[in-house]
């Protein structure tokens, strides 16, 4: 019924899990993220972010990936509601 909460990866809290909805970027960015396994439909868990708009670390499948803050801000995630 109600819309689920959507946040960019940059705004997520460490420990939150969600499903990637959309990558708000150009073709190049979409492809690079895709190559690392980050694309719409994937479950991602944010592990941490560094201070001062530093890189965001996340886990998808069994891989940890670190991406810059700007890119993280372009990845829209639908947050899982805690069970």
């Amino acid at each position: 019924m109600s819309e689920k909460l959507q946040l960019t990866l940059a705004k997520m809290e460490a420990g939150q899990t969600g499903t990637v909805v959309q990558v708000l970027g150009g073709h190049g960015l979409i492809r690079r993220l895709e190559a690392l396994g980050i694309r719409p439909g994937k479950k991602v868990t944010k592990i941490s972010s560094m201070l001062f708009r530093g890189p965001v670390t996340l886990r998808t499948n069994h891989t940890q990936v670190a991406i810059g803050f700007g890119m993280a801000n372009k990845i829209l995630v639908e947050i899982d509601t805690p069970a």
């Binding site: 190559a35 690392l36 592990i47 499948n61 991406i67 810059g68």
Partner: protein, 569 residues
Amino acid sequence: MMKILLMGNPNVGKSVLFSRLTGTRTIASNYPGTTVGFTKGYLKLGETQAEVVDVPGTYTLEPTSKAEEVAAEMLKDGDLIIDVVDATNLERNLNLTLQLLEGQLPVIVVLNMWDDAHHRGINIDVTKLEELLGVPVVPTVGITGQGIKDLVSRLPEATAPQTTCASSDERWTKIGDIVSQVQSLSHRHHTWREVLEDASSHPAGGVAIALLVLAATFFVIRFIGEGIINYVTDPLFNWLWTPLLMKLSLFLGSAGFWHDILVGKLINGDIDYLQSMGLLSTGIYIEFGVVIPYIVSFYLMLGILEDIGYLPRLAVLMDTFMHRIGLHGYAIIPTILGLGCNVPAVMATRILESRRQRFIAATLISIGVPCAALQAMIIGLVGAQGTQYVALVYGSLFISWVVIGLILNYAVKGFSPELMVEIPPYRLPPWRVIGEKLWLRVSSFIKEALPIVLGAVLVVNIFYMLGVFDFIANIAAPVMSGLLGLPKETVVPLAVGFLRKDIAVGMLAPLALTAKQLVISSTVLAMFFPCMATFAILARELGARDMLKATGIMIAAALIMGGLQNLIL
């Protein structure tokens, strides 16, 4: 001859498999982007020989960095592809696999890190995967060699199904389909390494761990280096080499041309390893008695950090700062390699995406990152005057590195993309693997450095006899004494620094410099000009024009820093 390409995502263990297949040793580490060039080796296949190429890792055939371009290029002239897949990461790896299956070349798939997948509760149905992909699939454990025989015997079965996918979306759908059919996950508990992995990605925990790791690393490098010098090399030189050289000296009549070339000048009737300047005295001593102990301890620690998988985590921590100097966090890896030797460090800048980043990183490495050989000599010679003077040299280099980085970030056109990197899991490398890598690096150091060191000592001796140096010294006198406050003879070691920096620092010893002069001359020597080998690699990686630009920056920076030190100290 048949050409076999080892391809796959970064950090899936291609280099380890390569060593297993060909017996050719290569440097393998636990971070994406260890291999930036390509290494060739040979494999006996029945009666014939096949060439095996260790291709840099790539996520797709649409390259995003120089190293990935190399990979895509290689594809043009191969005959067979061994596609190495990380079994713990099937889905992501299959993207490249499917792209390869769409091509013309026959493919065989290797499921590497099979043991690790098992530990992580990942089960893969190999027969089913073979059926779905249409090519042979062989599970392996590169580090132990499990499955390698099987791989070699099944190479002839490799085929090219030449499947087609209309779009990358269609490819991902297909991958999802395959994974759901072949992979099943079983539950397991968090392991110690996952706890550590999460702690070192946490901002505060990460900084604490980084400080601890770096402090421990410096301490251990110093401890082992000094230990080797005090308990191994110095006793060997004192009890074995010196008596032998003294016999030779007597035999040659204690003076004369050959005596001066081989043994060098006797100081008060004795050999002084830092002043005699003979091939067999100073030449051998500087390499084996001062530099190699530190080379051993540095590369031991570097190897451990690389194989555990710590370096990419350091890259994440350093990212915000590195952006200030026009780079991103991953540039810390070439920089750390530079503390060993600038040549592989400049090569490693290929892991950076843009030309601008590569120029900045390579220039900064050449200016502010002293190699292990140079550091060993600085610690030995400047350290004898007091640790605070060594700190002054390192401090000056670090300040130059930062300031020049800030300036280059402002001045160099182009863009620096953001960090995007896979963080490998922590692994506990077996000691045998660490030992083999250390031996590979130390022995190639000896092979590459020793001839140049001995050549440099020879040239220096001959130039002294011919009086060439007096001539140069007189020309350079205004800069040397006027700007830097150094005796004009110091220009000779600076010039020799072009050949090798360790021997150049060694040549400062007989000049009876004050502590301040030693600090200035070793700082200038470190920054001034890259050694010949680095110079060649800079030209190759940056192109002649950018290399000249970088060199101009180095010379200017060295003179400014040296001049400032002369004013302030």
